[in-house]
């Protein structure tokens, strides 16, 4: 059996999420190939070829794939799908947009956000916002799978010596086009890749007060996150949202500030290694999952924490 991992890339580099999908593919057994589709994507393909455990990289270098549009990409993937028993991608917005389209074109089911590989055809995936875990078995000839990054270690980015084979573009698309993107600019690490995350909730009271979170995050080299309540209240943009409807994270340290701990938020962060909760409401559900809880007013605690961390 051979698995194909769809590499999320910007031409120059691979997105870190790809490395976690490679680990899931390695657990299936057999060979692992990577598809790097992009524009001027040779550097990304070369990075892909160095990933430990990857046997072959297939590079489709064409303007058609510059922005990861699902319409042309799904056509390309279905043309090479017959070579594979499994097709995997990270469960990022890229992978979630793409793989169901691939699965439908192949007339197979898709498995979303797997968190464990049980065997070559059986997988664990969360349902009901992570309040239940289902073990599901695929009966299709090709398993099409998105992989939850936090559930699998990243594959090593060196040690591999895969060959790079060029694919010609498969055409398709034409009914969709990319106009522009407004990516949030930040000096901080990406939420899904950060070792430490400091998140604020409705208790922050305003977007301006997130400066207090920023100050602590600066000291820890942390990413800044938020609960859905803080996003809905308009304090911060949606791409900071941690939770079932936002990003799923599992950092070494997660600091939840002024977050009550709604199920939907817990679903996004409960796999963090160490959880700290700071909340003035002693009864807040967040304390039930926190390793360290501090019942206190966040407006006093955050400046104090920033200065304590400077010591």
């Amino acid at each position: 059996m051979t698995s194909l991992v769809i590499a999320e890339n910007d031409g120059q580099t691979l997105k870190a999420a790809t490395l976690h999908a490679v680990t899931a593919a390695l657990q299936l057994g057999g060979e692992v190939h990577l598809l790097v589709a992009g524009q001027n994507a040779r550097p990304a393909a070369e990075a892909a070829a160095r990933i430990a455990g990857v046997n072959k990289v297939r590079l489709a270098d064409d303007a058609l794939y510059a922005h990861g549009l699902a319409e042309p990409l799904s056509k390309l993937i279905t043309e090479i799908a017959a070579d594979y028993t499994a097709i995997l991608a990270p469960a990022s917005t890229f992978g979630k947009n793409l793989l169901p389209r691939v699965a439908a074109l192949l007339d197979v089911a898709q498995l979303s956000e797997i968190t464990a590989v049980i065997s070559a055809d059986s997988f664990v995936r969360p349902i009901y916002a992570g309040n239940a875990m289902a073990t599901v078995q695929s009966q299709d000839r090709i398993k099409v799978i998105t992989v939850r990054g936090t559930a699998f270690e990243a594959a090593k980015t060196d040690g591999g010596q895969a060959s790079i084979e060029t694919l010609s573009a498969a055409g398709g698309g034409g009914n969709s086009s990319f106009l522009d993107q407004q990516l949030s600019k930040s000096e901080r690490p990406e939420l899904t890749a950060a070792r430490v995350i400091v998140s604020g909730g409705r208790g922050m009271g305003s977007g301006d007060n997130f400066k207090l979170i920023d100050a602590v995050a600066d000291k820890l080299g942390a990413a800044v996150g938020a609960s859905r309540a803080a996003v809905d209240a308009g304090f911060v943009p949606n791409d900071l949202q941690v939770g079932q409807t936002g990003k799923i994270v599992a950092p070494e340290l997660y600091v939840a500030v002024g977050i009550s701990g709604a199920i939907q938020h817990l679903a996004g962060m409960k796999d963090s290694k160490v959880i700290v909760a700071i909340n003035k409401d002693e009864e807040a559900p967040i304390f039930q999952v926190a390793d360290y809880g501090l019942v206190a007013d966040l407006f006093q605690v955050l400046p104090e924490l920033a200065s304590e961390l400077s010591k």
Binding site: T93, L99, A132, S138, N175, Q182, V274, V276, F287, Q288
Partner: protein
């Protein structure tokens, strides 16, 4: 332009679900069901398009047991013009739903199909993309803004690093994200009116669609529980423990 909206009946988002003791699934007896929240956003968007004069007719569609008629009545009360239920007692998975919707799209010839990006029960996030693939239409998933002209939809999408805007030739499939709009509550007069709106019931066989499941659920379990830790008394105590005990900073 006709707009098709797909809605799913799911366990209400406020219900704390329970895994069955025999591990066969989640206990759905005696719990409240509602329209999937992302689908409410889809219905709302269609109604706004009609109010803006861009849509002429809204057809709400659901698949599942007889009780899905309630979900469709909710869509009708929000402003859909008529409804179609593809009735089946079987557990239907996204690919089967997409096939049934494709068959309905062939009959109804809509210019736009709007769906929620995912259902809050199985959390698949697949049906819209699969439907677009089967129809050969472009897709605008995770939409936070939608602008229509006669031939194209301009869709702002919520992607991991921020926002992305794509232009899709119509007909197209759109899936909704949270910030697309805030769904209205149906007023009592509209709820009464909705009872008189047409609701057709079909079977998967009428559409020539095989809805047999492709994925077999072997078991369903509770997720591992996290234990509550300790309360610390001060910021200094917290920082000390993170450094020396947890060793994470």
């Amino acid at each position: 332009m006709k707009v098709l909206v797909a809605v799913k009946r799911v366990v209400d988002y406020n219900v704390k679900i329970r895994v069955k003791a025999d591990g066969t699934g989640v206990d759905t007896s005696n719990v409240k069901f509602s329209m999937n929240p992302f689908d409410e956003i889809a219905v709302e968007e269609a109604v706004r398009l009609k109010e803006a004069g861009k849509a002429t007719e809204i057809v709400a569609v659901s698949l599942g047991p007889t009780a899905c008629q309630e979900t469709l009545r909710t869509a009708l009360a929000m402003g859909a013009d008529r409804a179609i239920l593809v009735e089946t007692a079987q557990d239907i998975q996204p690919l089967a739903v997409a096939k049934a919707l494709r068959a309905l799209a062939d009959r109804e010839a809509p210019g736009l199909i709007i769906l929620g990006k995912q259902a809050i029960d199985d959390d698949s996030n697949q049906t819209g993309q699969m439907l677009a693939a089967l129809l050969g239409w472009p897709q605008g998933t995770f939409a936070s803004n939608l602008a229509l002209d006669d031939t194209a939809a301009t869709v702002t999408r919520e992607v991991d690093g921020g926002l992305e805007t794509v232009k899709l030739a119509l007909p197209a499939v759109i899936t909704t994200d949270l910030r697309l709009n805030e769904p209205r509550y149906a007023s009592l007069p509209n709820i009464m009116k909705a009872k008189k709106k047409p609701l057709d019931v079909l079977s998967p066989a009428d559409l020539g669609v095989d809805v047999a499941p492709r994925l077999v659920t072997l078991k369903v379990e509770e997720p591992p529980r996290r234990k509550a830790g300790i309360k610390v008394g001060s910021v200094a105590d917290l920082v000390g423990r993170l450094k020396n005990e947890a060793k994470v900073i």
